[in-house]
Symmetry: C2
Subunit: 620 residues, 2 copies
């Protein structure tokens, strides 16, 4: 027995067929699992003309070879599809336990195509799966959906991933929520809209007895898993995330000029402390929460006892949400931020794209490009949580001006003929809340990342400030001067490759045991003998596969850019520094051996990475 992935549920919603599909083991050997394997599969299933919200798009829920093992954070799942927000590669990583439960039920992944005539949900119980009518769930918020399904299926231990009203209404940045824990959301690139377009409200898993996860050397893996958990906590960053949550980084971010403020136009936020993890800890925090076997437990559970934003015990906001609805919109009331973030979770909307789109709208209103004529009479102003609350309702229901905002920033800019340099998106995806002027590695990351502006395809800001740690640096990822452009590309590329592996295994990028240990874990699972060189090659293959997908969707080198709004020099911790993106891109293409004119990997590169089969597709 080896640990390769191979057993999939294939579901055609159009005709309600459910089949068990076995995967060619060579594919799993080559593309590992998670986003790597999903990307390889999707490459064959969709093309440039596929409507992301049409029945021909394919939505994949994918686990990895470590999923469900003893390894920390190995409960994650990746959701992949052609993105309706960007029309390119879409992926969203979800923490919690759903991935582990899917494998415990006997499946390594779910491949979903077609469109159900009416709203349905997928019920998975042990080895079997069934599509069920979801008309009772229509319009329901995510947490409510989980509660209804628990009642309907008469079990508390149900693991659910579902969409909210935003997904049903095809909000372009709708997400898929796994209501187990706050961190458990497949947030970015509009995977919830794809699910909505298929009339699939939820997937629910029940298990009576856990199926064994294939592991070549279970005892060795168990030992290794312990070491990995320990090594992860041997890191000041992990301890800080545990103690103060990811929002514990707010103060440091602000001091470094990394906390985007007023839609990326200010270099610092004087009220940062009000929205920090420390303030959360001292005001609304009740307890921590965490994902499958994770020792960090960066999740927060909060309660707001009284006032306008009264909340019972509920998931609290993490860093991105705090920045999105906080500094980005100049809102300093953490209770309001927690409330707005939770509203997004309930409606099923990505807090990053949502807050950024709202910020962009306020920015346009301030410039006079939007007026009350377009906004249904609303005055769009900064520091107005009540306005944001209204807008969230309008977006989720696509009501009035909300219908425009539901399309995301890029389409809003296009509609009002705003220069692409004024809208904080890359390849159509809203830039997350780490300022590329504070860490030049992030400027390059955003410009080239496979799913548009992304802080997870390479979390180079964390490498720069030492959170990734010496055990990972032997890979070649380096901590370098944050304001240095020269020589940054290789480090960014190596981290991209490593994270492509991470999202294929699947591991959370907050867990950073020495690379050796990650390699061991994979070898003990698969029975392989990969070494550092082999792992680097696999990582590069996985990352390159996503590039191939994007090339097929029409992406070229000229899409690897940043808008000027995130490059203008600012006062603050960034000290008016701006990255030299052209230089970094040049070095990046050179390191990757990608043709700088077209952004295509050279034939030699593809051969080196055992991706020669794609040469005819891209070089003809």
């Amino acid at each position: 027995m080896n640990g390769y992935m191979g057993k999939f549920l294939r579901i055609n919603l159009t005709d309600s067929t459910i089949t068990n599909q076995a995967l060619d083991p060579k594919l799993a050997e080559k593309f590992v699992g998670g986003t790597g394997l999903a990307c390889r599969l999707l490459y064959d299933l969709v093309d440039r003309n596929t409507d992301p919200l049409g029945p021909k798009n394919v939505l994949i829920f994918m686990t990895g070879p470590l999923t469900g093992t003893n390894v920390l954070t190995a409960g994650r799942i990746e959701v992949c599809s052609k993105s309706p927000l960007t029309n390119i590669w879409g992926e969203a990583s979800c923490g919690g336990n759903f991935g582990a439960w899917l494998r415990f039920a006997g499946f390594d992944g779910i491949i979903i195509e077609g469109r159900a005539p009416n709203l349905v949900y997928l019920s998975i119980k042990e080895d079997s799966a069934e599509l069920k009518d979801a008309s009772l769930l229509k319009g329901k918020e995510t947490f409510e959906t989980q509660a209804i399904l628990q009642r309907e299926l008469n079990t508390d231990s149900l693991k659910v991933m579902c969409i909210g009203p935003a997904g049903e209404r095809l909000v372009k940045y709708a997400c898929i929520v796994h209501p187990d824990a706050r961190t458990a959301i497949a947030g970015r690139t509009g995977m919830g809209a794809v699910m909505g377009s298929k009339n699939l409200k939820a997937i629910a898993i029940q298990i009576e007895e856990k199926k064994a996860i294939p592991v070549a050397y279970p005892d060795k893996l168990k030992e290794q898993a312990k070491e990995m958990a320990k090594a992860t906590m041997d890191n000041f960053g992990s301890q800080m995330f545990q103690t103060l949550g990811t929002a514990g980084y707010v103060d440091m971010a602000n001091a470094m000029g990394d906390l985007p403020t007023k839609y990326f136009t200010l270099g610092e936020y004087p009220d940062a402390y009000n929205i920090s993890g420390a303030t959360m800890q001292e005001t609304i925090l009740v307890k921590n929460s965490g994902c499958y076997r994770c020792p960090i437990r960066c999740g927060r559970e909060v309660e707001i006892k009284e006032g306008k934003y009264k909340l019972s015990l509920n998931p609290g906001p993490e860093y991105e949400t705090v920045a999105s609805f906080g500094s980005n919109l100049l809102i300093k009331d953490l209770k309001a931020i927690a409330y707005l973030g939770l509203l997004c979770d309930k409606f099923g909307m990505d807090t990053i794209s949502c807050g950024s789109t709202i910020g962009f709208a306020i920015y346009l209103f301030e410039k006079g490009i939007l007026t009350t004529t377009e906004t249904d009479g609303l005055e769009l102003t900064w520091s107005d949580p009540e306005l944001v609350e209204k807008l969230l309702h309008m977006i989720a229901s696509r009501q009035g001006f909300g219908d425009l905002l539901a399309e995301g920033s890029k389409r809003l800019a296009e509609k009002f003929k705003v220069s692409p340099d004024e809208v904080a998106v890359v390849k159509g995806l809203e830039i997350p809340f780490h300022d590329p002027r504070a860490y030049f590695g992030m400027a390059l990351t955003y410009a080239v990342s496979a799913r548009g502006a992304c802080h997870c395809q390479a979390d180079h800001y964390l490498a720069t400030i030492g959170n990734i740690g010496p055990g990972v640096y032997p890979l070649g990822v380096e901590s370098t001067d944050r304001f240095q452009s020269e020589g940054k590309a290789k480090s960014v590329a190596l981290l991209e490759d490593y994270r492509a592996l991470y999202s294929s295994l699947i591991l959370c990028l907050f867990t950073n045991p020495p690379t050796d240990q990650v390699i061991n874990a994979l070898n003990y699972t698969l029975g392989t003998t990969y070494d550092m060189a082999a792992i680097k090659r696999i990582g590069a293959r996985l990352r390159t596969m996503k590039r191939l997908f994007n090339l097929k969707m029409g992406i070229t080198a000229k899409d690897d850019r940043l808008p000027q709004i995130v490059l203008n020099p600012l006062e603050g911790g960034q000290e008016k520094h701006t990255p030299n993106l052209p230089l970094m891109l040049q070095e990046y293409y050179a390191y990757r051996k990608w043709d700088p004119a077209t952004g295509k990997p050279t034939k030699e590169t593809l051969e080196e990475l055992d991706l020669a089969e794609f040469i005819p597709d891209i070089w003809n």
Copy 2:
């Protein structure tokens, strides 16, 4: 040429003799430098009956083999003597550049005995030294002293260590200030009082041309030094200290219950943010400052533009000062804290012992043990920066009630017959501002540490939260559950040994490159071939030497204890946990092979560590 230390200035102040003394190279080989070498020398020079403030006590300024080399933080100096505060081993580590300058002037250390008939200062210029009249400096504050000496000696590049009025008045916790940078203070155990008792106001170094520092393999050391600097910054903690200063830890400390509040009687401080590094950064910070070749630059320079605590550009408070005058005294005004901290620096008083003694006095006043009769009519209350300002003046001048406070907490407790369990000292030294209930490793550290309660002899709290990093863990120092008592002793002991080496080399404990690199640096300097085992043995020898010194001073196992006031369970991040100190002590003595009844190292241990010559002293 090898890099052993060997050339000392020996000064007898009683008869004003200054001699150059060469040291037996075997001593330097065995005890390295810094506190290790100083302790070995002092062991022969003082005994149980030596009055720490009498002419027979000896004050040693000691550099280490790395001092003045390219290695980061290698500008430090250690000041050692029998402590007037504790009557045992006294040491105080000072950052900045003084150590490097002393070696550049041609000396590895200064050994000072006797007492000058009138106030003098020592002027070192190149290879020569001279005692000069200091009557003009009498009563002058530290920064002023430096300014006067610069004028008198007509040079701006003077490096000075001096005492303020508190040292002259023999305040038991007077410190020695090196006014180059905020972090540059030899703070603890009253070394300033010893200097004052000798009528030595200052030491001033001028150099025209730097003497070469002996290094066996300079090119290799240079390369290694670069790697060490880089590795130090590959650490999230270093980055945090750079960005927010050491007070950047305040929020995390508070969340963990590590921020002593209201003289150790509360488990958290609701106003912590007001005194945090982030608040400093956003309010009074002007720029960072740093020590010799240090890439971290954790020092802060602040300015307060108006109000009661108006200050021109001056050193700002670090973590211990912020806690001492902040949470400890329930003062939430960071400007007041900065002002009070600076006052201590000017007067030349250790902010830890000073704030703690004041906290203890307020605690006693609240209990009715002290009344306005004893306090010159002062109402001692919490949250009163004006009161503290008054007391600082009274202490430094030993005026009225200030004369009592100038004796430190232990003597204050004795005078008013307060149980030793109510006063936060160990072996007479005030407990610094890391709560032993938050990190059980610190409970053991405080109980056994060579200079009384100390967070630097082993910074085990930083090991526990991963700031020391995986590169150091191969040594055996472990990050373990902070609330675990069992199995903690070995890790604490190993860290004590490593830090004993650090304070002998001399390196700052905020710099934590992999241990290999530190070993290399020592080998490249000395021309030795030490490996990890050898280094561990040397570290254990250095730490054990301090124990031998304390045994000679009368310390026994029963002094290795903690007062109950820091063991009472508290609400807050400590979650009412309390360490099992007896268990940890038992394991500690067992690991160290110290006799648990007497606290003496066994003969076998002393033989193993090449300290057999001391067997007759302690086992007869």
